[in-house]
Each structure stands twice: as C-alpha cells, then as structure tokens.
C-alpha cells in the first residue's frame, strides 16, 4: 500500500513536468499547426534562466583576507555578493529564494524568447510541410543547446531550493499511515502544486478571457476567425510566447530537482512527444491527462516487483522501454490518442 502510494506520488510528480511541456507543445501545435522540436530547448532555456539569475545574484565584491589562504597558498579572496552589500537581509533573502526570483524573471524573458522565435523563424514555416518544421526546429534546438554549452559548460549546475522548502515531509502520516513509510520531498510537492496552478491558469485563460476564446476559436477554425476581421496571427504569436513561458517555468522550477545541463531539453523532448501523442495531437486536456498517466505508469514500471514480474514473461528492462512501448501501442491501436479528434494527421 505504502509502496503504491509512493509511486503514485512519484508518478504525478514526474507527470506534472511531462504535462507542462506537453501542454506547451500542444498549444503550439493546436494554434499554429507547427511541430516544434525546439520545445525541449525552451524547457532547458527556462532552467538556465534560473542559473543565470543565480549567477547574477551571486556577483560579488572581492576582498582579500590575509588571514586565510587559498589552495595555492596565496591570501584568500573573500566574495561578498553585491545584493547583500546593498540590501542587507533582503539580499540574503533574494539569494535564498532565487528560484522564485527566477520564476518572476522567467515569465517576461521566456515570453519574449517565444515571440522572437515565432516572429523570426516559425512564422516562415506555416506553409511548409511538417517535415520542414521538424527539421528547422530540430536545427534550432541544436544551436540553442550549443550556445548554452559554450556559455555554461557541460556539467550540471546545482540550484538549491529555499531552506524552508528543502527536506521532506512524512506524507504517510498526513493520510493516516504509520510514521516513516511514505516520505516525500517537500520541493516535489511544491512542484506539483505549482504545475497544477500553472495548468489551471492556462485553462482559465483560454476559457474565461475573450483573448482565450478567440484563440480557441482560431484553433478550431482559423479561416473563419480570420474572416471575422480578428487579427488571429498576433494572438497566435502571443500564444507561442505563452507556450514558451509554460515550458520555461517548468524548467525553472525543475532545477532544484535535477541540476540543469545543456542536453536536458533533448531528454525531455522525445518524452513529451510521446505524451502528446498518447494524449491526442492537439488536445490540451489530453496532453495533461497523458502527462500524469505516463508519469504514473513509468513510476510503477520501475518498481522492482513489477520489473521482475514482467521480465519473467520475457520483457526485460521494462522500465527502460515502457514509454516507447506505450507510444507504439497507442499509435497502432488508437492513433488519435486518449482525447484527440479523429483525422488530425492520421492514417
């Protein structure tokens, strides 16, 4: 029971990252009809916004302390971050809560990156075949990765969560189980809540604002909305920015869970495509649902008990291939996915 609860928790946690990326991917596909292979790179860029914010907050005044020696035996340099110099305790607070500062910074930055990407590149590919869209965004992903590598190197760069949110909680006790059976990291719960809020926000935005309604109408029938004299293109551009921001925020918040490095986007990309396919191409609720579902399935597949049981029937290492296996099965049996409409890129 406790093991199952743990894996469900793990699953929804993984799932929230998948869901966020897949949500953005679907927004772009649904609004612009573009298959964006650079979406993983946006997730990665978001994570590196957090790294950059951390570095900026850490810009320090350097003083020489003759009392202490560095590794070469020279007098040690003492670094005092300027923010603490200027703002005192508030400076320390900023450094400690740098992930949240990054969230605030990442929203405009990522929206801007998204808009630049759409206006500068993607726009020219609306009328090109899907294959061309895949190729050019794939190329863009390679370029973005290499730029990040050139600037930040290849090693992961750790970002820590605020002290208050570090450590773990005894989730089992909360739901009335014995102590110490279901321990769960606090930050992962924060991540889950954050993604639920973000997903809810995107849905509310699409549902309850005029802007969102126009966009949804445009997703269903672009031409008609265009005929009504509404500038749907500009709205779609903004939606691209929103999708980039969703991916970027997912990346920012992910940094305390997994220290970011430049290939992280590609790792998530393949996965999130699988999520989108399972959810149904173009379906926003489908993407979210499939994200959580795949997260949970993946978690269960990695339980030793299940791994061994499946290996016994001749499918070894199920945890390594489960995601791909699901993608293959869904595409063959139900190509429109869980909630997709029939006919979209089907056959």
């Amino acid at each position: 029971m406790d093991a199952i609860l743990l894996q469900v928790l793990n699953g929804i946690d993984k799932g929230s990252a998948y869901a966020l990326i897949a949500l953005g991917l679907t927004l772009i596909f649904g609004t612009l009809g573009v298959v964006n292979f650079a979406h993983g790179a946006l997730f990665m860029l978001g994570a590196f916004v957090a790294v950059t914010v951390g570095k900026i907050l850490d810009i320090s005044k350097i003083t020489i302390d003759p009392e202490r020696l560095d590794f070469l035996g020279n007098p040690a340099k003492i670094r005092t971050p300027y923010v603490t110099e200027w703002f005192g305790d508030f400076g320390y607070w900023l450094i400690e809560w740098s992930v949240l500062v990054s969230v605030v910074v990442a929203i405009p930055v990522m929206v801007l990156i998204g808009i630049i990407m759409e206006r500068g590149l993607i726009k020219h590919f609306y009328n090109r075949p899907h294959a061309d869209q895949i190729l050019v965004t794939f190329g863009l992903a390679i370029v973005l990765q290499n730029i990040i590598k050139a600037v930040y190197g290849a090693n992961p760069i750790p970002q820590s969560a605020p002290d208050l949110l570090q450590g773990s909680v005894d989730f089992g006790v909360l739901v009335g189980m014995t102590k110490d059976t279901v321990i769960y990291p606090l930050w992962r719960l924060v991540y889950f809540i954050f993604s639920m809020v973000l997903i809810g926000g995107v849905f509310a935005f699409l549902r309850f604002t005029t802007f969102g309604m126009v966009v949804r109408a445009g997703m269903a029938d672009r031409e008609t909305v265009g005929l009504l004299g509404i500038n749907i293109d500009r709205r779609f551009t903004i939606m691209f920015g929103v999708a980039a921001a969703v991916a970027g925020l997912a990346g920012v918040m992910y940094t305390p869970i997994s220290p970011p490095n430049y290939p992280m986007g590609m790792d998530f990309l393949v996965l999130s495509f699988v999520v989108v396919v399972v959810g149904g191409m173009g379906s926003l609720p489908g993407a979210v649902l499939a994200g959580f579902l795949l997260g949970i399935i993946e978690s269960f597949a990695s339980m030793p008990l299940i791994k061994d049981a499946i290996a016994a029937i001749g499918l070894p290492a199920i945890d390594q291939i489960i995601i791909y296996l699901i993608a293959v099965i869904v595409l063959l049996v139900r190509p429109r996915g869980l909630m997709g409409k029939t006919g979209i890129m089907e056959e």
């Binding site: 406790d2 093991a3 560095d70 590794f71 070469l72 990291p185 930050w187 869970i257 339980m303 390594q320």
Partner: protein
C-alpha cells in the same frame, strides 16, 4: 595479417606485399626501426582525444588543460610541475628524445564510434605516435582496441571499469587510473569503521558495463566485511529522474544506499536520495547512509550541497600534501586559477609516464615503450609509490577514500580525504575472476 597501415609520416615501404591483392601473412612486429608513425623530424605528435561535447565535456576540458600543461613542461616551459618530483629523472625539459612535443586534439563525444574516428584521424592524418584521453570506460576500451590494431600506444584517461585492464586489456594500452575493484577494496574497511559491520545495503546501478563491475566489486568487498545486500536495482542509463527508484529504498529494510552511478546519473540520483530525506532517517536503529563508490570533484560540484558527508573513492585529490601533488596543483593553479581535477591529474601523469618510458627505451617504438612501462616502479606523481603491473598494464597505487565536506571553504573544496588506503590493500592477482576473460596479446608496432 600484416599491419601495413601507412601514415603520413610512416616509414614503412610496402614494396612486395601487394601482389595481385594477395597480401601474404607477414608479421612485421618488433621490426627494429619500422613502427607506425615513427617521428622523423624535430617534433613528435601526441593525440589528445577527449570528450568536448556530451555530458563529460567539462572533464574533457579539464583533461585538455592538463595535457597543455604537460606539453609545456615536457618542452621545458613553465615550472616543470611534477617532472621535478617524479622519481625517474630522465625527462629534462627538452621534449621527448630531444624532439619538441606537439599535439593534436579531438572530440570523442563520449561515443565509441566518434572516439575511434577521431583517434583514426590522429593516427592516419596527423601521425600521432601516442593517443591518450577519454572520460568513460566504453570509449577507453574502444580506442584502446583501435590503438592495438594500429600499433600505437594508448594511455587511458579517466576509465574506472574493471574491463579496461580486465577482459578488454590490450598490450598497447595502459591505465594509470584506479578501477572498480580498488574502489570496493578501499571503501569497505572505511565503511566498516564508520558504519559498522552489520549493515544492509541497497544498490542502485546504472545498467551498463561500468555500473555492473562497480556494483559487483562493492558488493563483494562489503559483504566480506559482514554486510548484506538486500537488492540491486538496475536503472536506465537515460534516466534523469530517479525518484521512483529511490522511493522504495526506505521500506526495503536497507540502511545503506549504494549509488553505482557516475556523471549526470550520479548527480540526479544523489540529489533525489537526499531530497527524499533518506539521510535523516533511522533504520534498524541506525542512521541511514548513502555511498557513492566513484567520486569526481567536478561531478560532486553538480550535486551541490547534497554530497556533504557522503563517502566515496577517488583516484587523486588536489588537497593531498605530498610533494608531487603540491607541485602539480601549484603549476596547474598558477596557469588556470583553479585546482585540477582527478581527470586532469591522471592524464598529466600518463603523459609524463609515456614520455619517460620513451626516454628510457630510447625510442618511440611501441614494443619498446611497452617493455619500459611494464613492471615500472615510480613515485612522486601524487599517489605514492606506484607500480605498472606487467600482466595487465594496470597501475597499483594508493586509493583515496573521501567524504563530502561539511563546511567547504571554496567552490573547489568539496571533498575531504578520509583515508589514503595503502596500495597493498587494493591489490589483486592478475587472474582475479572479476578481471578474467581477456588477454593482452602481443604488443604491436604497426
């Protein structure tokens, strides 16, 4: 059967061998002066083949820094570094055998294919007489095999799998770095001291060769001390989130988690394990502990705060206070402004060892170099008295057991040395079962 690879600077003239396409089996080994890429002019070229893209690119970059430093020292520039402390005094700062050392670099991409392509271009195009580098065992084994075929000396960089000098050992290849077995042998007594002899271990193991050999070694060594192993779970190489593997650990009855992971895997699994609060828990009335058999400072940095108090082993660390280490840290630090990593150290040593062997042999000819290195005893390179064993071309030297530092004083000061495990304790017979199944073969002059 002939090894007639011709190179730009090749000496071999293959007049007769090619009649009507039926090359006769002519074994041209140990042929006196004829060997692959014999340097003819006033320079000699070494090939530095390191990962410059992919997950280990930063280690590759650090290796390159050490190589540049080694070349400087060999050519008599700079302060000479460990050449001054090296027990063999053949190297005079006049290059190798009087020839100025030049180098070419390449990107292994941490892929066997790319690494071999890069090495091939160094051998065939640039006339490199020795190839060195690498930051993973798969690449090391692949390039070592290539060098064996081509008749070039290979001085392995960072490679920790038992296989490199075990079932995949080659006569032309040498490893200065330590291996999984040594990690286990060095760690076990320290762990016993620190955590007692009735511990129950849970292993998470990266699902590929290196992971398996490390897991096998650590399990054997700790079980010899009385520990039991409750589970060994293989994790996908491509995994980035280990939470679903970490979560069940606490309820398995284990009180120690061994993470047989390296690089990104290690960073992510360790981060998860700490976040899950494992180290705050009491199991079987003991504090739950985590062990990382192979530590690397560059990787420890990626895991940030999470390494604090966690045991592991390493080949070398810059805080060592012997003369060799101090000299190396000094000259590396002066040059680049930060201390070298263990990867930098091992490749620097390998370069000096190769140069020294050439001096002692009086030639670059691979078989002569092999002979000079086999059974070579030396000191002053930072690991105490060291022996290059003839049977498997593995270096035997002290191994460091380290622990993540609780109060680091700088961003480089992440590990503290807990114990320098003496060489005798990590030695093993050449026919040890964990290393069985391979043969050096004969040295190859190309």
């Amino acid at each position: 059967m002939s090894r007639l690879i011709m190179n730009r600077r090749g000496l071999l003239k293959t007049g007769a061998a090619v009649g009507a396409g039926m090359a006769m089996p002519t074994v041209l080994t140990a042929g006196g002066h004829g060997y692959a890429n014999a340097p003819t002019g006033s320079t000699v070229t070494l090939g530095f083949n390191v990962p410059q893209s992919g997950p280990y690119a930063d280690e590759g970059a650090d290796e390159l820094r050490a190589y540049y430093l080694a070349v400087k020292h060999l050519n008599g520039e700079g302060d000479g570094g460990m050449m001054n402390t090296f027990s063999s005094k053949e190297l005079q700062g006049t290059g190798i055998l009087g020839r100025k050392v030049e180098y070419v670099t390449g990107d292994t991409q941490t892929k066997s294919d790319a690494a071999r392509a890069s090495a091939q271009s160094m051998i065939q195009k640039d006339g490199a007489v020795m190839i060195t580098g690498g930051s993973s065992s798969g690449v090391a084994v692949a390039v070592q095999a290539l060098c064996q075929e081509a008749g070039i000396i290979f001085m392995a960089g960072l490679t920790h799998s038992n296989d490199t000098t075990g079932k995949d050992k080659k006569a032309n290849g040498f490893r200065h770095f330590f291996n999984s077995y040594m990690s286990g042998a060095a760690l076990a007594p320290v762990l016993e001291n620190a955590y007692g002899n009735d511990r129950v271990a849970y292993h998470l193991t990266a699902d590929y060769n290196w992971g398996w050999t490390t897991q096998e070694s650590v399990q054997a060594a700790t079980e010899a001390k009385g520990w039991t192993t409750v589970a060994n779970v293989l994790t996908p190489l491509t995994a980035t989130d280990f939470s679903s593997y970490i979560a069940p650990v606490l309820n398995s009855g284990a009180d120690v988690l061994v993470l047989n992971h390296y690089g990104g895997n290690m960073i992510n699994s360790l981060t998860s394990a700490v976040q899950f609060g494992l180290r705050d828990k009491l199991v079987n009335d003991k504090n739950f502990e985590i062990v990382v058999p192979l530590y690397s400072r560059l990787m420890a940095r990626g895991a940030g705060e999470n390494v604090k108090g966690i045991y592991g082993s390493t080949n070398w660390h810059w805080s060592l206070q012997d003369e060799g280490s101090k000299a190396f840290v000094q000259s590396f630090g002066e040059e680049y402004g930060f201390p070298p990593s263990q990867a930098a150290h091992t490749v620097y040593c390998q370069t000096l060892l190769y140069a020294d062997a050439c001096e002692r042999a009086g030639t670059h000819q691979p078989c002569a170099v092999v002979e000079a290195l086999e059974g070579f005893d030396f000191d002053g390179l930072g690991n105490g008295p060291t022996h290059y064993r003839a049977e498997d071309h593995q270096c035997f030297k002290d191994v460091l057991v380290v622990r993540g530092k609780e109060n680091p004083t700088s961003e480089f000061d992440l590990l503290e040395i807990v114990e320098v495990t003496p060489r005798a304790q990590v030695e093993y017979p050449a026919d040890h079962p964990m290393f069985a199944g391979g043969a050096l073969g004969n040295c190859n002059n190309g």
